[in-house]
Amino acid sequence: MPLTAEALAARLQDTLGDKIAQSRVALGEVTIEVAACDWLEVAQRLRDEPGLAFDMLIDLAGVDYSAYKDGAWQGRRFAVVLHLLSVSKNHRLRVRTFCPDDDFPLLPSLVEVWPAANWFEREAFDLYGIVFEGHPDLRRLLTDYGFIGHPFRKDFPLSGHVEMRYDPELRRVIYQPVTIEPREVTPRIVREDTYGDAGRG
């Protein structure tokens, strides 16, 4: 029988102790937060402790929290979120850490722990500019050759900065500043929880 989320959270607390900065159980999922300096060590132990045995890295995602709740966010800007799976124990875990420096987000690479991290870290570097120290081959992955900037950061416009077209006079493809106007069809709105409930107007 797989562990319940609460039991897993308790076991994590027993095994990792004060390495866990914050632990939360919500919607049946366990989330722990660790400090960036403990990142590699915690990852190693999550994989190797027999009671945890997270043998698979399912996902690694970069997150830019700068626009969270329309700017109400107080903490650090860049986070990396791991989704781990233990095939042998049949449980899942989410691990989050915040990069200490907003201007130069840097974390140790997890490629040595889970080889699957390789491309996920390249992706996070490409899209968010998070640098993974110790990664064997940290190149851009998804964007074009010679792309400038990190497109998934919240301050990067949706339509980008440059566009590409064929120039008949120069007889080659050229880059030029974007000519389309950015527009927002549906505005982004954060409402209070009770909005629209009967009897509340």
Binding site: E29, M56, I58, V87, L141, L158, T186, G196
Partner: protein, 417 residues
Amino acid sequence: MAEIRNYTLNFGPQHPAAHGVLRLVLELDGEVIERADPHVGLLHRATEKLAEHKTFLQSVPYMDRLDYVSMMCNEHAYVLAIEKLLGITPPIRAQYIRVMFDELTRILNHLMWLGAHALDIGAMTVFLYAFREREDIMDMYEAVSGARMHAAYYRPGGVYRDLPERMPQYEVSPYKDAEEVKRLNENRQGSLLDFIEDFTNRFPAYVDEYETLLTDNRIWKQRTVGIGVVSPERAKALGLTGPMLRGSGVVWDLRRHQPYEVYDQLDFEIPVGRNGDCYDRYLVRIEEMRQANRIVRQCVDWLKKNPGPVIVDNHKVAPPSRQAMKANMEELIHHFKLFTEGMHVPEGEAYAAVEHPKGEFGIYLISDGANKPYRLKIRPAGFTHMAALDELARGHMIADVVAIIGTIDIVFGDIDR
């Protein structure tokens, strides 16, 4: 003495065996692969960023366009993530419909994979056979959603509408005479469920046909046995999921081990391989098609007996009926608000995964309480498989790379997103 040097070969992005837009840089020592460096991203459309600028409902059609040969499975993970955050459960009939279409999609995907994979390594006929059956499943998609591929049929809270009572039929045209049309319409006389039931009766014989062509075929075995071997430990370390993991002998299937919807009430088996090579993964997928067919049949039987609602009646999530909307002011407001401002998903984060035909397909959703996702991370099934290509291909010949690309079942819509 002649100088010996290694060649670098550029494979794709326009190569027919590259399955879309893969640019693969191969470093060769003679004909042996020293290193394979896949350059992906040629199909990158920033789906995750686009979703941050769309309401939750507006992003459903984007999901179809990720892995564009298993459309409804992508939608499934997305709506599951939203439902998890909203804390709603779709009606039981909607769950059966979703499972049925997930499994039809699995057949759809595996047929495409089988046809293309066989074509790549020299078997032409399977492709034609596979596409014959794909056409029937496309018709089911069309009957239920109006679109052959990009269905946008799964919605948060259920599915868009109930299964149609009448299966659309062919009509006489300058290209099809009355006799031809009569033949084509033979199994389309009843409802969609009748058509699907008829398909599940026919399909096992079709799978036998594919197997006659391939399973004991000497050339097929020469091209796949012992190629691209992955050990179970290595498969887990590389993050391989789905048939790639099961081909190596690891018994792991989300439908069984972390069941969602009604999979825990259905009877099916999970095939696993033994050697972890291309041939075992072929056998696993063939058997998965048979098992999917079994699941579809069970769903058809259940759905025929149990009518009911197919979407929740919470009108902050699902639209009211057209009649109610036109007769009732309250419903009109709900309809208007839902399709302009969209639904608000409570603050929080959720990860939902489905057993996609290609592996684990997951959606990680962060909401800050707005009408749009704050961050949507797609965990594509093919991504880690593509990343493992380098390791799988090393030491093999150039011709084997084609077999390995075929066996990892990649679609660039979901790797590049």
